[in-house]
Each structure stands twice: as structure tokens, then as C-alpha cells.
Symmetry: C2
Subunit: 248 residues, 2 copies
């Protein structure tokens, strides 16, 4: 197995970092890796904000509720960004561009562009011996995050990523079976799907009971039902529209 596959297959989210800060050279390498990801029609519809100001980091931790938003080697916030494109145009051209910029299609483009660049950054960091954790928790108060980072219209904060030197090594968490996630030619809705999920429920329960910290008794299906019965972040929808994305 090559070094890249090893890196990818050994991914675990890191939630405790040493106080070592990333060097400027490391940051440049990671951003270069992020930028080399594919991008829809070369739009590069994202901006990455590196947060170094301790006051700002503290405020972002309050939004997320996670200590590792404050304590890490570096904090990145990935934003979907169609503002840059809008600035290229003369005012009369921008009027004509609005229908496109504000479409759900372009909302998908900007979200995927940002995510692809983030995953390149994640893999690059892990290949360098660093650990990472995605922070969807910044969407707990997306209005506040946007205000803190000074985001103009057509820009939304999608998620953060804490990067740094790992200070723990969690077990690898099992994933759904291959057959659940990979279908051939048609989407499968037969009972094989139920079998896969029952298998995974048992496997994840075993993982929770035997892992080295935070052991518990739980199953995936039960977790998911509980999670989805509690609506969260319902204001993301209005926020995105106020930023003039995903409107039509």
C-alpha cells in the first residue's frame, strides 16, 4: 500500500492538540494543496480564512462549544465565495449575473468547491504528521461567525478545520459496510440495505463498548433517529438567502 492510501485509511478526527503552532511554510504548503483540488469550471468559488487572533478564536469557540476550536496548531474557516466573481463585473454586468450567482446550482458549486479544497488540505496535513478535525459546529451560529469574519454578500462560512500536532490517538471508527454505500447502476432499496445497517449497528456498538475512552452503549440507527428528531441550525437557510445565495 502506498503512503497516500495509508494516510487516507488512517484518518481519525483529532480533538486534542499540542500548543505547537503551524509555521508559515506549513500553512503555505497546505493552502497550495487545497488549491490544487478540482474546481467547477475553474471558478475557485471559496476563500479560506486562517484565524490567529486569540480574541476571535475565543469567540468562535463560544459558537462551537469545542475547546479544540481555540487550542490547536492553526484554525481554518472554509467559506463558499461567489463575492470574488461578483467583483470582476461592471455594475451593469453584475445585474445580468445575479440570476446565476443566486441559484441553488451555484450554491452547490461553491459548497463542493470549498469541500474539495478542504479535503485536500486535510489529507496534506495528515501526510505531514498533523491531525485535523472538521468543525461543522461553526454553523451553530452562522450569523455570528459571518459577523466575526466580516463576510460580505455572496460569502458563507461552511465549516472550520482545526489542524495541529495530535495529543491523543483515538481508535479508528468503523464505517458503514461497502454494500450500503456503493451501489451498482441503480440505487438499491432492497433488504440487503437493512442487513448492512443491522451489521453496522452491532459493529458500532462493539466499538463504543471497547474503545479506550468515553465508552457507551449505543447503536447507529438509534443515534441517527435521535439526532434527526431534534431540528438544529434551522437559521442556516435564512442566513444563506440573506447572503444572496441559494435564492432561486
Amino acid at each position: 500500500m502506498n503512503h497516500t492510501l495509508e494516510t487516507i485509511l488512517n484518518h481519525r478526527s483529532i480533538r486534542k492538540f499540542t500548543e505547537d503552532k503551524l509555521t508559515n511554510e506549513q500553512i503555505h504548503t497546505l493552502i497550495k494543496a487545497a488549491q490544487q483540488a478540482s474546481t467547477s469550471s475553474n471558478v475557485m468559488a471559496y476563500t479560506i480564512i486562517g484565524v490567529t487572533d486569540p480574541i476571535l478564536k475565543n469567540e468562535l469557540r463560544k459558537v462551537s462549544g469545542q475547546t479544540y476550536v481555540e487550542h490547536n496548531g492553526h484554525l481554518f474557516v472554509f467559506c463558499g465565495d461567489l463575492h470574488r466573481i461578483s467583483q470582476l463585473a461592471k455594475p451593469e454586468e453584475l445585474v445580468e449575473m445575479e440570476e446565476t450567482i443566486e441559484s441553488t446550482e451555484q450554491f452547490i458549486v461553491t459548497t463542493i468547491d470549498a469541500a474539495l479544497s478542504a479535503q485536500n488540505l486535510a489529507i496534506a496535513a495528515e501526510s505531514m504528521g498533523l491531525g485535523i478535525c472538521y468543525l461543522g459546529s461553526l454553523r451553530n451560529d452562522i450569523y455570528r461567525v459571518s459577523e466575526l469574519l466580516g463576510l460580505p454578500e455572496y460569502v458563507i462560512p461552511l465549516f472550520g478545520m482545526a489542524v495541529g500536532t495530535p495529543a491523543h490517538k483515538p481508535e479508528l471508527k468503523p464505517r458503514l459496510p461497502f454494500e450500503a454505500v456503493y451501489h451498482e447502476n441503480k440505487y438499491k432499496t432492497d433488504e440487503s440495505q437493512q442487513t448492512s445497517i443491522s451489521f453496522y449497528d452491532a459493529q458500532l456498538q462493539e466499538y463504543y463498548q471497547t474503545r479506550s475512552s468515553n465508552t457507551k452503549t449505543d447503536k447507529w440507527s438509534g443515534q441517527m433517529i435521535r439526532k434527526y428528531r431534534n431540528p438544529i441550525r434551522m437559521d442556516v437557510s435564512s442566513f444563506v438567502k440573506e447572503q444572496k445565495l441559494n435564492k432561486r
Copy 2:
């Protein structure tokens, strides 16, 4: 520089493949890599459909208009999927879960989950000497793709990916300068952004004029303005809502 960084930094989209098909072992390795990506709260809100049926591939090529959708080593279609989650619930539970499943927040979750898994698959493939090309073009007729793949409610086809043995080696395409994409602490709107874009316009023009095939005279800013003045895929919005996602 390690093998992983080399792989990431050497990415170029491949649009001509030999007729060599991926082996089952390669497909399993790639899906395992895809699954090891981070996922929001362990939701794993995506399904990957491998398309091998020649008739189906031909139909998907008609949607995209790109020959390499038909001629490749393997064709993957990445779908945002909250159907799996919905199937875990009893009917009375599902009623309670609908508000969450149909939210823009969960539409973001499913899109990001699918994209992170796809980028892992892309990097894994490239590390194995294969080439890849993302196919946003499947959204040219998202209704048709959904019909062809038999997608139930709460599932949407986000993009495809052609994978295979490269039959050409395009030049590396330059990206926006570091300063355009990476900001510190606050979103930057000063004139440094305009300077970056002027620099990139000149750089991309040079690239287009000197590359080994399909040379042309064009600038990034002009391309983007032209692109965004022509609304495309405006039916993605209604399609997504009919699949009961991104509704509230």
C-alpha cells in the same frame, strides 16, 4: 516532499482514458478510501453509484455531452443521500424527522459529506497511477440522471467522476494566487484582491497561449463574467426541492 503531497500537487483533470477497466479490487480500495473521509456526526449522508451498464453510460454521456463519461476505466456518481437515514425510522418517527431532513442545513451536510468522500477517492486513485475527472455536467439534466439511476426521495445526484488509466498528460493549470484565496482573521476586500486577480489574468492568458493543445486567448475575469451572464441548470433548485431536500 512526501508521496501524498506530490500526488495532490500533481493533480490535473484527465479527459482521455485507455479502455482498461478498473478491477474489483481497485474499486473496493477506492470506496474504502472514500468512506474514510470525515463525515458530519457520522451521518455518512452519501451513496456512490458505480455505473457499468453500457446503455446507462451512453445515456449519461448524452446528459453531459462529454465522451469521457462513456469511455473510462470506471464511472462513479456521487449522490447526496438522506434516504438511508429516513429508512431507519418508524413512520411516526419519520414525521418528526422531516423538518431536519428537509432543511438547508442538512442539504449542506449531505453535499459536503459526498464531496469529502469524492476527494478522498480522487486522491486515492491518483496515488495508484489513475487519472480522474469530476463531472458536474451530470447536473445539465439532473431530473434525467435521477430517473436513470432510480433515486428515491431524499437522494440527489451531485456529480460524477470518471476514473481510469490516463491517455494524455495535460499541463498543470495555474490557480489564483495564495493571497486571493487565503485571508487572515477577516475577509479581505481591499485592492490587494484586484492586484491578485490582474496577476492571475496575465498568468492564465500565458497558460492558454502556450499549452500544447487547444490554445486560445482568454482571461479568467472575462471567462467568469461570460459564464455567469448565462444562467445554467436553473432547474436544479426545483429538482432538489421535489426530492424533499433544501426545502426549509
